[in-house]
Symmetry: C2
Amino acid sequence: MKLKLKKTEGIFGMELENEIGSKVELNATPNIGGELKGFRPMELLAGSLSSCSSIDVLNILNKQKIQPKKFEVDTDAQRRENETPSTFEHIHLVFKVSDEVHEDKFKRAIELSIEKYCSVSKILEPTCEITWEVKIVK
Amino acid sequence: MKLKLKKTEGIFGMELENEIGSKVELNATPNIGGELKGFRPMELLAGSLSSCSSIDVLNILNKQKIQPKKFEVDTDAQRRENETPSTFEHIHLVFKVSDEVHEDKFKRAIELSIEKYCSVSKILEPTCEITWEVKIVK
């Protein structure tokens, strides 16, 4: 896997590009002189957890011939704010799915992802507590 | 830190949004039915390392009144391909900077980031070897 990052405007403006040409803008937090534009690096990391786990869950459901009409994940990530480096202490994920998906099947898919399949979960495991809940929505 | 992820088109199409409304598109690898669109979750994670470390480096240089004309980081990330979860085994970063920055100062800033300040480097440390080199460019 190859990625290119380059500095753009301001002190901390950056653009990340992958091998198929997709791009995402990044910046630092305003308290060190960054601007409220794009993503902060630790947001990408927290987002890699929710998206990696979502792919597992959607893949497991898809194998059961279920493609949910609605699927969302809210992420709430807490950092060790008074430490440097300031790693994640706790990440809580709220998995929401439309009501054609049975709650037990949905929970089982998430459990398999977080405990067994998800690479980002495995990487975070030594330094971060990961918790989750589900919500069945209309 | 709060993030929202929602399923968009296809089986694995997703959109990640942060608190200031920035968005990035995600998808799964084609070999499980994903599409070559946006980013894959593990790309976001590798990109969080290069960008987190870049902010440290640009911050250290900025405190020395140096704002490089050109600054880029190439990332090459190797996963443990035959394992599930498939975590990163090795990430190599090539830091490139324009020649108004002294090579020794640049190396020292990167060293401080990777070994001391960078939160993503700290999170990856137990499971991934991180190496780096510098290139001074015109």
